[in-house]
Amino acid sequence: MTSSQHTHTPKAALSRRRFMEGAATLGGTLWGNTSHTHAETEAHSPQQPLNAQTAPNIHDLPSSYKPQFFNDEEYLFLEHACERIFPQDSHGPGACALGVPRFIDLQMNTPYGRGELWYLKGPFINGPAELGYQLPYSPQDLYRRTITPINTHCLMTHDALFVELSSAQQDDILSSLENGQLHFNDIPGNIFFEQLRTNTLEGAFADPAYGGNYDMNGWQMMGFPGARADFMDWINQNGASYPLGPVSMPPSSQAELNEGD
């Protein structure tokens, strides 16, 4: 593990146990008084496949979700980082209440999450940014190889996990990732940040069937009518706002949606 700005110091030797203690005591930070069960449970097998038995009911509150790909430390990071990217405000819910972390967790066990939609054959050579992504990593890898090192970095610099930092401090870390000042393992911070930002926004606005956009609240905020897909009478209404709220796809098995095409 390396960081562009900080070399290994004794502080970095803070143990993984310290991580998990921190994680366990921080559960619920973003959820106010709602119950937050996953942080109290054992870490899940990281590669546990999605199947009919474990498929979540997307009508359940996102806060009750138990991650299937991410471990508790990673999932806590995700909750806090996604919320900074897409925060709750007067427009409506933020990433957590929309179920964005649940969406991202579910996406990890799909062809997309496994990197099967990308060309990931070597050799791997760095080049100008314009020539695009050149790492050997799937989305699963990008998260797994970055989140823990970010927490280690936070411990070294702030003596606290990412989730324990103030919002301003969290924003500083995210900005340093976005502008590439930080990098962890061989993953430039901006590559990780763009992955996180993209997946966060996907989770805010994809059909609720995928686990995010809880109760279509993302669509509601945007004024997007979802799966209505019929605007014959609304081609030109001189700038009036569309009067009907969103509809979503009918319930459909998660496994079927994510099997790929």
Binding site: R84, I85, L120, L131, R197, E202, A229, M232, W234
Partner: protein, 602 residues
């Protein structure tokens, strides 16, 4: 349903007269024409079969994540991609994530997931070198620009533009028919032999604002010709289309309403009923086979992508109708023609590769006005050709080419809108981002400069020395970046937008143009309008195929697609691809079949 009728042995399979490689628009047109001529046709497609009844089923067909975001109808890069570099002295690197351009895969090809903007080329586009020299002199052409004529005129192609519009059920408003003014169409459009088969699509609110404002500034707005049905339609093949309801799911999706023209809706339902037609899917052609003299194609070698077994099929006539990049790739891997070498400018295969010079600008409306950007149709909108038309004097502006400006509200979905918002000095995440992004979605609209892109000495396609596809073949290598002529053109037309935006009542405008020295960025969606590399023309020293799209080297091979365009134009390519397919098919039927051999003497 999928016809995965892979032949385990060619001996048991009767030899077809014609093999067609690629089941997109060009392949489907050629298959229809040649079966009509009484020939037996086998069409090979590397991807899966696609039909509206399955891929187009509502509501799963309109799922943004599955459609435009995870890109289910597009090329599967994990099996085969290409490498990209900006300049010949760079190491080209693999295109690992679909972004800048999105070739299709599966029956229908890019014709299944396109938008539906259906233009004719103009005489000026087809005769750009001659017209430029006649008007501005030879020295007006930059030294490194490979400006060429197509070798076919608008008059010659007109019946085939007309036929394509009738097959596609294209909605539009003519300006002149047989020399008489008939309506308020594009005053700069070339004369037509007939009306569009359907009336123009209605204007969305954003398009109506642009129409009014452009006219007030003194320009000549017109309805973009759209292969989206404005009314119910039955085409000459008996294929039916339903009226478009502006659902907004065109580009990246299979149309659930049978409203957007596609090979799957407009041709294949008729073709599939013909016993002389056979479709083999999941058949990735690896090589066009040649005889000992390498003057005649004998057939193709393909791999069944499911069983990974190889097969050989033979035929008298081979038609290559894959996507532009893949046409060039297959010529190179088959050793047909001489690969282009930019050092001495020898060879032709891969020469004159080009793209489309597009930038998108944005206009914000007052907060009590909703642009409802989710409403739309891929081909519908309002454009002006004042800076694209032949009469526009490029002399003072100092560039070759041009660009329509248009509002083509195709239906903006929230994931794409949210990912694209911010940047250029604006927040890309956090509270400010969220506020501005929602405002942008509800109260703004996009205006595109959809400009031409010329061909240049050091912009080309060849085979990559390092990376290979899943079948062990070298991948295609793209060498491409933006050039000053096209940047100058883009900046010139984008600057014209401010007056229109003001007239539209813009509260804020963000004009986006290319900057000098800016490298092509493969990470950012541009368009899938790639062209050239196997161009048509008058001479085998500067073209791969003759004016009938017949290979100069192998006379029973025809190569059809935007790969035949010698340089770009301000319009979308599909209308010209379809017209060239019908043109080529007509001459195969009326001339070649009776007398096989070179149709033009080199």
């Amino acid at each position: 349903m999928a016809e995965n009728s892979h032949t385990s042995s060619t001996a048991t399979s009767p030899k077809p007269d014609v093999l067609i490689i690629g089941a997109g628009w060009a392949g489907s047109i050629m298959a229809k024409e040649l079966t009509e001529a009484g020939l037996s046709v086998t069409m090979l497609e590397r991807g899966k079969d696609h039909s509206t009844a399955i891929e187009g089923t509502y509501p799963k067909s309109i799922d943004e994540l599955r459609g435009a975001v995870r890109k289910r109808l597009f090329q599967k890069l994990a099996h085969s991609s290409l490498t990209i570099r900006n300049k010949p002295d760079q190491v080209a690197l693999p295109y690992r994530q679909l972004a800048a351009f999105l070739p299709g895969e599966g029956v229908g090809g890019a014709g299944l997931h396109w938008s539906g903007c259906h233009f004719r080329a103009t005489e000026d586009d087809l005769r750009l070198r001659s017209n430029t020299i006649e008007r501005y002199g030879k020295t007006f052409i930059p030294e490194d620009m490979h400006l060429q004529d197509y070798g076919v005129t608008y008059q010659e192609l007109e019946p085939f533009f007309d036929k394509a519009e009738k097959i596609f059920g294209t909605s539009g408003q003519a300006y002149t028919v047989n020399g008489r003014i008939v309506g308020q169409g594009n005053v700069f459009a070339p004369d037509r032999s007939d009306h569009f088969p359907l009336p123009a699509m209605e204007d969305t609110y954003s398009a109506s604002l642009f129409r009014k404002a452009a006219a007030k500034v003194g320009y000549n707005p017109y309805s973009i010709p759209a292969a989206n049905a404005s009314q119910p339609y039955t085409n000459p093949y008996g294929c039916q289309m339903g009226p478009c309801n502006f659902c907004g799911y065109c580009s990246g999706y299979a149309c659930y309403l049978y409203s957007k023209a596609s090979p799957n809706v407009n041709i294949l339902p008729a073709l599939r009923q013909n016993p002389r037609f056979k479709l083999i899917t999941q058949a990735n052609v690896l090589e066009i086979l040649l005889d000992g003299d390498r003057k005649k194609a004998t057939g193709v070698r393909y791999v069944n992508t499911q069983t990974l077994t190889e097969h050989t099929l033979t035929a008298d006539l081979v038609i290559l109708t894959a996507f532009q990049l893949h046409n060039v790739h297959l010529l190179l891997t088959s050793g047909i023609g001489q690969p282009y070498n930019p050092a001495d400018q020898s060879g032709t295969v891969g020469r004159n590769f080009f793209y489309q010079t597009i930038t998108s600008s944005r206009v914000w409306l007052p907060k009590n006005t909703f642009s409802n950007q989710f409403v739309g149709a891929g081909g519908a909108g309002v454009a002006i050709d004042d800076f694209n038309q032949p009469g526009f004097d490029r002399g003072p502006a100092g560039f070759i080419g041009g660009s329509p400006l248009w509002v083509n509200q195709a239906g903006v979905k929230p994931i794409t809108a949210a990912i694209g918002a911010g940047g250029k000095g604006k927040a890309r995440w956090g509270h400010t981002y969220k506020t501005e992004m929602i405002e942008q979605y509800q109260h703004s609209l996009g205006i595109e400069a959809h400009g031409s892109n010329m061909s240049y000495r050091d912009v080309y396609l060849d085979l990559d020395p390092t990376w290979r596809n899943a079948y062990g073949q070298p991948m295609l290598r793209m060498t491409f970046t933006w050039k000053d002529n096209d940047i100058r053109m883009n900046q010139y037309v984008v600057n014209k937008l401010q007056d229109i935006a003001n007239e539209m009542g813009a509260t804020r405008t963000q004009l986006n143009s290319l900057q000098y020295g800016q490298a092509f960025d493969s990470r950012i969606y541009q368009t899938t309008h790639l062209g050239g590399g196997a161009v048509m023309g008058d001479s085998p020293t500067t073209s791969v195929v003759n004016r009938y799209l017949q290979s100069w080297d192998v006379s029973n091979l025809f190569v059809i697609g935007s790969s035949a365009f010698p340089q770009g134009m301000g319009y979308n390519p599909t209308g010209l691809v379809a017209a060239l397919a019908y043109w080529s098919a007509h001459h195969i039927r009326t001339s070649y079949l009776a007398n096989p051999g070179p149709m033009v003497q080199a």
